[in-house]
């Protein structure tokens, strides 16, 4: 199977969908002539031309809203946000319009739009550019949110998102863009709402999404090597819809749970997952659920400190040992 990067996997998904469906349009700042601020859309203008791959001004509320409007008439826009942090200037469009129109029209209208871009800290760019809004957005019924952690999932989830008839927000990660992995050339999708057990184990379940999965896999290796602990890592992949059964099955197997995510702790994705586990598998638990999130503060600029603020393998190992104690 070809080994390609997370970035190339996203690009492959968009290219295949542009080929498959004429209604698919890519839009965003610098996506066309500049080939993308992070080169995710590199070469697509050349291949598909300016009708399908469109540069926008720095007007997120305007062009995201425009994309939502176009989707109401059946266009399938795939909108790039240079950073999900910039979605905040388009919040009304993203939440109030895309999220509510189907409901308020009694099901008459739907918004098959994809909004994608990186949503991560860890790149030394300070508080305004380091937001991770998956929990905020997933808290709105009407919206779907996915967070791929690997190249395989990036391609499969992106394709599923583009074919989906609801608004799907894809949160990528600039730190993962260069990660490589096996990705089939052929058409496949990763359905929204299906978690993936990225590592099997028997003593502890770690539930994570996005780059926290990669961090957790590193921590699992250390726990195995240095502490003889067998860790299962469940990658949610999709935040809403959420694959409750895969999480619960793992809990029934290991009876101990650590939740890891790069969000700030207050009402993170882990809050929902912890509620799920205690409500549907309370008797399975041999210890309280613990979590590792980002230290609760706006993102610090200083890189050395930001690496401490985010979950890292050392913090995950330390917290895992508490759950196992």
């Amino acid at each position: 199977m070809p080994v390609i990067s997370y970035r190339e996997a996203l690009r492959a998904a968009m290219r295949e969908e542009l080929q498959r469906d004429e209604k698919v349009v890519l839009m965003g700042e610098e996506v066309a002539q500049f080939n993308g601020a992070y080169k995710v859309t590199e070469g697509l203008l050349k291949e598909f031309g300016p009708k399908r791959v469109v540069d926008t001004p720095i007007s997120e509320a305007g062009f995201i809203g425009l994309g939502i409007g176009a989707s109401m008439l059946g266009i399938r826009p795939v909108m790039e946000l240079m950073f999900w942090s910039f979605s905040y200037v388009a919040f009304d469009q993203i939440v109030n319009n895309a999220g509510n129109i189907r409901y308020m029209s009694g099901g008459l209208i739907n918004c098959p739009i994809v909004i994608r871009g990186p949503a991560n800290g860890g790149t030394n760019v300070g508080a305004t550019h380091s937001h991770t809004p998956e929990a905020i957005l997933a808290s709105h019924p009407g919206i779907k949110v996915v967070c791929p952690a690997t190249p395989y999932d990036a391609k499969g989830l992106m394709k599923a998102a583009i074919r989906d008839n609801d608004p799907v927000y894809v949160m990528e990660n600039t730190i993962l863009y260069n990660d490589k992995g096996e990705v089939p050339d052929e058409d496949y999708i990763v359905p929204l709402g299906v978690a993936d057990v990225k590592r099997t184990g028997t003593d502890l379940t770690i539930v994570a999404h996005g780059r926290a999965v990669i961090t957790s896999l590193k921590a699992a290796e250390i726990l195995e090597q240095e502490h003889g602990v067998s860790v299962e890592v469940v990658d949610l992949r999709s935040i809403r819809p959420l694959d409750e059964e895969t999480v619960l099955a793992s809990v029934r197997k290991t009876h101990r749970v650590l939740l890891v995510e790069e969000n700030k702790p207050f009402c993170g994705v882990d809050a929902q997952v912890a509620y799920l586990i205690q409500s549907k598998a309370f008797d399975e638990l041999d210890a309280p659920i613990h979590r590792v999130s980002s230290i609760d503060a706006p993102q610090i600029y200083c890189k050395r400190l930001e690496d401490q603020q985010l979950p890292n393998p050392a913090r995950v190992v330390a917290e895992a040992l508490k759950v196992l104690a």
Binding site: F34, I58, V89, I300, R304
Partner: protein, 368 residues
């Protein structure tokens, strides 16, 4: 794409750069020799500070984004040199020039870039988020256009307090397409606020030329007309012209409490940020032409040499001193410590940092 019928450029930009036509404007004529030398010195300091930043970045000591102001110095220098006690300013992420102009030190600025606790924001803000409220400098803002309403609000506060002052709100040519900017324009005009929107038009927003980003029949400043605001266009390579025309906007703010949009034509020599390879969207020739023929620091130097305000020896001494100062700032940043993990959760809430009998709220506010 619709092309503008006529570009409204400042008259002086249509001719090859020569001696400034604005040298005799009252605000410039009023400058003493010493003040002129000080202005030149500040421009040279901005230039050398940023060129030193490039090296620190290349050494891997600055990460993230670093947006350089090199080429645009006359904009910050000209406008800020006019400001008085009740005049405030706020800008975007290309904020180092403004910082040095208001009197922030190279040390605190450099240490911020390397994330040290001795930085102006204690290593918490970085390059895009410098602040010095004691110098009426309200940042340093990373979200394009987000500062425009804030600047309007600063002007509102100045007026509310009955002070004769203003706020200069700077933004780029790409920022004018943010909704927040238009909402700010409307509020400023509707409520007669003493704000001056300074559009630093360097021709590009990242890799997008201004023509590709903006529908504009003429120039960006002209959008002011839609809101009944005054506007002007300025040659940003000539610090005297910047001062002359900005002084009129300031007068309007101070005396009539009316807003203005100033579009200042300028140019950045380096990529959008250090991360931009700057290879695809503009000609090397174009950069060369600006550097060689319109360099604002060099043009002012020529001006002052011709006026006999400066001698070549003084020019050399000023530049050497600025370079030495930048070297010292780099050494200072190197020698400074990082913030600590405990520092991460400081400065989030005023109340948490000022717990005492006067604080009233209860409950958990920082979560584990």
């Amino acid at each position: 794409m619709a092309k503008p019928a006529v570009l409204t450029h400042p008259e002086s930009l249509k001719r090859p750069a020569g001696p400034s036509e604005y040298a005799k404007h009252p605000v410039n004529a009023a400058l003493s020799k010493k003040e002129k030398v000080a202005l030149y010195t500040k421009m040279a300091r901005i230039r050398h500070f940023e060129q030193r930043c490039i090296r620190v970045y290349q050494q891997g000591k600055i990460g993230g984004f670093l947006h350089l102001y090199v080429g645009q110095e006359a904009v910050a220098a000209g406008t800020i040199s006019l400001l008085g006690k009740h005049d405030h300013l706020i800008t975007g992420y290309r904020d180092h020039g403004h910082a040095l102009m208001v009197g922030m030190g190279m040390n605190e600025c450099m240490a911020e870039l390397t994330g040290k606790v001795t930085g102006c924001s204690q290593g918490k803000g970085g390059s895009m988020h410098y602040f010095a409220p004691d110098k009426n400098y309200w940042g340093g803002h990373g979200i394009v256009g987000g500062q425009a309403p804030l600047g309007t609000g600063l002007a509102y506060a100045v007026k509310y307090m009955g002070l004769k002052g203003s706020c200069l709100a700077y933004m780029g040519d790409g920022a004018v397409n943010q909704g927040a900017v238009h909402e700010a324009y409307n509020l400023a005009a509707l409520w007669d606020l003493p704000v001056i929107f300074v559009v630093e038009n360097n021709g590009y927003s990242m890799g997008t030329s201004q023509e590709r980003s903006t529908a504009h029949p003429g120039c960006l400043a002209k959008r002011a007309e839609g809101y009944g605001m005054d506007w002007d266009v300025i040659n940003g390579h000539d610090v005297y012209e910047v001062r002359a025309k900005t002084s009129e906007a300031l007068k309007r703010a101070h005396e009539e409490s009316r807003p203005t949009v100033l579009e200042i034509f300028t140019y950045r020599y380096y990529g959008h940020s250090m991360a931009d390879p700057d290879k695809t969207y503009r000609d090397k020739e174009e950069i060369k032409e600006y550097r060689e023929q319109k360099d604002p620091v060099f043009l002012f130097e020529k001006e002052l040499l011709a006026e006999k305000v400066l001698t070549p020896e003084q020019v050399q001494a000023i530049n050497e001193a600025a370079m030495a100062e930048a070297d010292e700032a780099a050494a200072f940043a190197d020698a400074s410590p990082d913030p600590t993990v405990a520092d991460i959760t400081k400065h989030i809430y005023w109340e948490e940092d000022n717990r005492g009998p006067q604080t009233t709220s209860r409950g958990t506010i920082i979560f584990e």
